[in-house]
Amino acid sequence: MGLREILWAEWVAFYKDLTRRKSLIVSFIVYPYILTLLFIIMGLAVGGLTSFGQRFHVSAITFFLTMSYLMLTLLIGADMIMQRPSSDMWAGTLPYILASPAPRVLRYLAVALPMLAPFIVQGIVCLTPVYVYYYGVEGSVLALLVVFLSVLAGLFMVPIAMVIMGLAYMVSEEGWRIINIARPLLLILLGVYYPRYLLPLVFRVATMIIPSSSLVEIIQYMLINNLTMSLASVLLGIATASFILLLPIGSKTVARWEEGLRFKGVKEY
């Protein structure tokens, strides 16, 4: 059994489900704009667009639009993995999934990938016009790079999501409550809304274990036009290495959770 079959299964399941829920399609399109508006309004209350630009050397609109898009991309695949046990319990599908011989790492990669694909389109549609306005024609190239890195960052969230999901559901049958607490913490450590390069060194090192945070940092350096090739290579290397290192840990955590379920019995609602 390979990634192809499992990926195809998740792909079909996701897209059939998506196209049968029209409200979900609308939310895909409008979320980044709504989040940007929210942060701009909050920002205006405490300072203003100019002061933000002076401090961070990037337009607030570009920054928050990119970060809102990035946040969605980072969380969508991870959320799908972290919430899956809960939704499978309610649908009654969990026992059948546990009884499947599908390799777990492949399965969770397959869960995240179909979710990330529409974000390529969403990123191009949302970011390109704004980037072209602020950066000129080169803005379109920048938008494509940001979209690529964002989707890669979303994929790199898979092992950390597996670890959080496994641990949360090991602690409690209602692991989604713990995940609701972990999610905002994850966003801080990812540096989405607070640039990692402004974090104290201790926190900065701690964030290294989250593969996607290095990719977030690359994007942020790109936005302020301060990215060197060597820095990009180092950050990309750290992200890839931590992703590869975390995959077996994620797999083991999920295996431990499943084994725990096999001792206690799978709950059916």
Binding site: A9, V12, R21, A91, G92, P95, A99, S100, A102
Partner: protein, 330 residues
């Protein structure tokens, strides 16, 4: 050469920890022993019914054999593979149906749901569509025109068929069905029963089947394993089980008028004698292991006292009698 069993359980013991709640914060952990040593063997081509009252341990047993639960003690094997240490091999050889009404994604059609699980169960992409079509036809969803309807629009009978279809996706040698007809209307239940019998008798699959429905167990199962309070209390074909409780054949003799001499009758049949009077008729009832040895004497007493015998019946025990008898014993 002795046949080797498809499924074997040896002294299965399973304990669940639960909490007894008192007030807001007080509580203590209690241990419930769901299985206390269940053992049995099931051979290829057999439909074996696992019967028992609520809480007897039927679902726990099925979950252990389907690798969804790890026993605290004892062993179980499917086609020689250990359900704990060789779970992946066991999963490749079984099809499981745990519930009738759930277990699928609402926004997918029956076909899409099956294609999803087929991929997850390791069927290669070039045969998935063909196999899904086959199982949809086997369970009759194609005939009903329901294959391409959303699962959320399915009736309970359709959901049960789809669940059975999923259990057959991998064409497994061993099929485990937990109350597959629960809540179904008679035609749907009959369809499922016919399918199950066909699986074993035509295709040589091994079927383990739990149910509360005695009528169903009698017509579907080749052999029955009765469990109660976590232990195996009886095992055999429906006829063998009935023979084991022959003491409970019921004799009913209906006579006109008053037969008197109850003392004499009691002497013959023992204390189980029951008399009912209705519309000028008296019904004398008693239970006996070998009623043929007593009926002659009883009739002689009645006739000698001038009773006019209207009707005499001997009721064979039903599987329900067997069930009730052993349910009280566990």
């Amino acid at each position: 050469m002795p046949r080797s069993p498809s499924v074997e359980a040896i002294g299965l013991i399973k304990r669940y920890k639960t909490k007894e709640r008192k007030g807001l914060f007080k509580g203590r952990t209690i241990v419930i022993e769901a299985l206390k040593g269940v053992s049995f063997k099931i051979y290829p081509g057999e439909v074996v019914g696992l019967l028992g009252p609520n809480g007897a341990g039927k679902t726990t047993t099925i979950k252990i054999i389907s690798t969804l639960l790890i026993p605290d003690e004892g062993e179980a094997y499917v086609k020689g593979y250990d359900v704990v240490t060789e779970a992946d091999m066991v999963r490749k050889n079984i099809g499981v149906m745990l519930t009738v009404e759930k277990g699928f994604y609402n926004k997918l059609t029956g076909r899409e749901n099956l294609e999803y699980f087929a991929a997850l169960y390791g069927l290669s992409s070039n045969i998935i569509k063909k196999r899904v079509q086959e199982v949809l036809e086997i369970v009759g969803l194609e005939e009903l025109g329901a294959s391409d309807r959303l699962f959320e629009e399915y009736s309970l009978g359709m959901k049960a068929r789809l669940n059975l279809a999923r259990a057959l996706l991998r064409d497994p040698d061993v099929v485990l069905l937990d109350e597959p007809t629960l809540g179904l209307d008679p035609p749907s239940a009959r369809k499922i029963r016919d399918l199950v019998k066909g699986l074993a008798h035509r295709e040589g699959k091994t079927v383990l089947y739990t149910t509360h429905n005695m009528f169903e167990a009698e017509i579907v199962c080749d052999r029955i394993i009765l469990i109660n309070k976590g232990i195996t209390v009886a095992e055999g074909t429906p006829d063998e089980l009935k023979d084991k409780i022959m003491a409970f054949r019921t004799v009913k003799i209906m006579v006109k008028g008053e037969p008197y001499r109850y003392d004499k009758l009691k002497e013959i049949v023992g204390i189980d004698l029951e008399i009912r009077k209705e519309n000028g008729l008296t019904t004398i009832m008693f239970k006996a292991r070998k009623p043929e040895e007593l009926i002659g004497d009883v009739i002689r007493v009645l006739v000698s006292n001038g009773a006019d015998i209207v009707k005499l019946t001997v009721e064979e025990p039903t599987l329900e009698d067997v069930f009730v008898y052993y349910s009280g014993k566990g």
